[in-house]
Symmetry: C2
Subunit: 394 residues, 2 copies
């Protein structure tokens, strides 16, 4: 281990994570796991860097220590952020980067062969931003003796129950997102240019709150107004806020890559009755949903209670109303395991963490009042405390 | 076309782009192209939103108008940002999102069948962050009558020569990055917490400069100091700057998704001779490289002249020294076509744009002094004007 390495977790905790991953590999008869999801790489080893735009992975097998593999110039970053010994940090030459002649995964196959891991069952994360169709094709071509099996989200599922240290980072993220919402409410006003408002949100989120310094969130702040808020994922421009505008703020605090998302909606001046009705519907339905947020209930119980109550208010919604959160990298702050939606029968357990996301996108705007929660012994705890209503600024 | 749609380019320019793409498809005998790269989607249609974390694409064929396909709730965003008629904006149901039972691409196959595009040769972007191995597998399974062919970067290559309107957006981005570097130099000082410095960089970049409002860059600001700067891609924490620290700032201005990256390095106090030597080497070598930045020269000519001159100063470097820039989405602001490196024989043409990136990562820190340039009739033009040297702040 490099000297003075300031890891985010104890070596014991990393050891537990590795053991859990190996148990699941054994259960599925996977001899070797190629972990490309940057969140999984970080969770297993501590590795942290904006290097996921080139191919990289952590190789997990039953017997040998994990191996970090990536672009040569990023090996220095691996040395500085993960607990893996220098001997097990392997860089590939730069002529593999974005080449039309050779694929970095060709090099990985050679390495697996050298490590004696090129046969048996090799798990790969088939559904991942960082495992392209071409990456898979390269491994298929160069590992003729191996059986490639789908291990999508194998590691993600080991991450669903958070440790106390993880929760502590998420609480730091919660302090940050509280500060971001307070800052937005302070400064938002008629005549403000949206890009300036976005700039203030970034500043508040990255500066953080005292010792809770801000890391970059895996999704950037959304702050659509009016008709743009009929769509969930439009980013800002230089339009100017005016009286009567309703804007939702879908943002997250982030600390050491752990997220606390939280959305609120602000109306400049009194909102129309329709939005007050929508607010009442969302809050009633959210509380009905959250009554089911406790150990022993299923993920879908939260969603169904929410949908059913929402419908009594005349709103019909069928998309998912939440998902697991924690450690993440762009482009998504969800953990991509459980979803709060009909059909998801995962049983809730203590220290699972969710973004409960009961958004309503109407025909002329959107309303988002959301909560990030941690499941406790007998219910749930809100991670961040921000006034739970449609905010009005005169 | 939706009323009052404020497109970033004329319909004529989008028409030219589509025509160029279709010509290349015809040349390669591709009947239908499934474009998943968000930059390519935006370049072809104007579509803009942080929705690329779920599967989406633009379908291009020879005869019919392009079709936008994506998550149902994002169709509203497509209506508001791209020129495509509502009839050709197709959303898939939310139960496809991050499901373990069904893949969104299953739905795409159905759509292609309905459009009569499920046979013949279908081009897919095999090497892309947003075309997973599982996406490819789904298409293989559900399109038995089609031949799937690799069309990675087919559209990217149509983007390499910039239009005047594109250059105008990149010049806006250049004004923004100039402002960011000026702001950094103004405020950097001993005792400053890195996350606060990062917060100020974000604020400056997103607020922009007057009418040049800031969009989010496809790579977030890097500002590693000292040993962390021996690695290229580590992000900030809450460490405190001290006298003698050398920090490089790898940042970009961004306007309407067009980028102008530019790196500078700042030493707090007089830098050691070793860094002054490195500065001289980089600047000499950069000028030697840029003498080759003109129409008719090859991409590798720039790199080779740079490497050769660098070597006369005792520095050996083999990774690439630059790449095409323009329109981009996370996780990479490069266009992923040409690279300035040995072996790249692409001929330079007027209005190509590059980030010339002659970074040196030393054993105890890093030095980055880079330039974004546009190729002119007879040479090149620096996009941004920032003092071209190792900056010293006392």
């Amino acid at each position: 281990m490099p000297k003075n390495l300031d890891l985010n977790f104890t070596l014991a905790e990393y050891g537990d994570r590795l053991a859990a991953t190996r148990r699941e590999m054994a259960r599925r008869d996977i001899d070797c796991l190629v972990v490309v999801d940057p969140s999984n790489m970080a969770w297993l080893t501590g590795y942290d860097g904006w290097s996921f735009y080139t191919h990289q992975c952590v190789i997990v097998s039953q017997d040998a220590e994990p191996v970090w593999w990536g672009r040569g110039i990023d090996a220095a970053g691996a040395l500085r952020t993960c607990y893996i010994d220098a001997d097990s940090i392997i860089g590939y030459p730069d002529h593999f980067v974005q080449s039309t002649e050779r694929h970095p995964m060709d090099h990985l196959s050679q390495l697996l062969r050298k490590l004696g891991l090129d046969r048996g069952s090799i798990g790969v994360e088939m559904e991942n931003y960082y495992f392209s169709a071409a990456a898979f094709r390269s491994l298929q071509t160069h590992l003729p003796s191996a059986k490639l099996v789908d291990a999508t989200a194998l590691v993600n599922w080991q991450r669903i129950v958070k440790s106390e240290q993880e929760l502590s980072y998420m609480r730091s993220a919660a302090r940050i997102v509280e500060g971001m919402h307070a800052h937005i409410y302070d400064i938002i006003e008629r005549g403000m240019v949206k890009s300036n408002l976005a700039a203030e949100i970034f500043k508040s989120g990255i500066a953080g709150q005292g010792e809770h310094w801000g890391d970059y969130p895996a999704i950037l702040p959304m702050l659509p107004t009016g008709m743009d808020a009929t769509a969930p994922h439009l980013t800002w421009d230089n339009s100017v806020l005016k009286q009567g505008d309703i804007t939702f703020f879908e943002i997250a605090g982030c600390h050491k890559r752990y997220h606390c998302p939280l959305s609120r909606t602000i109306s400049l001046g009194q909102p129309p009755q329709k939005y007050l009705d929508a607010e009442k519907a969302v809050l009633d339905a959210m509380h009905a949903g959250l009554e089911n947020a406790k150990p022993g209930k299923l993920a879908e119980d939260v969603a169904i209670a929410f949908f059913d109550t929402l419908e009594t208010h005349g709103f019909k919604k069928d998309n998912r109303t939440g998902y697991c959160i924690g450690l993440s990298y762009p482009p998504d702050w969800g953990e991509r395991t459980m979803s709060l939606r009909r059909g998801d029968k995962t049983e809730l357990q203590k220290n699972m963490t969710f973004h409960f996301m009961p958004a309503l996108w109407l025909d002329d705007g959107g309303l988002e009042i959301t909560e990030s929660v941690v499941i406790t012994d007998s219910g749930y705890e809100r991670l961040a405390e921000v006034e739970q209503r449609l905010l009005v600024k005169d």
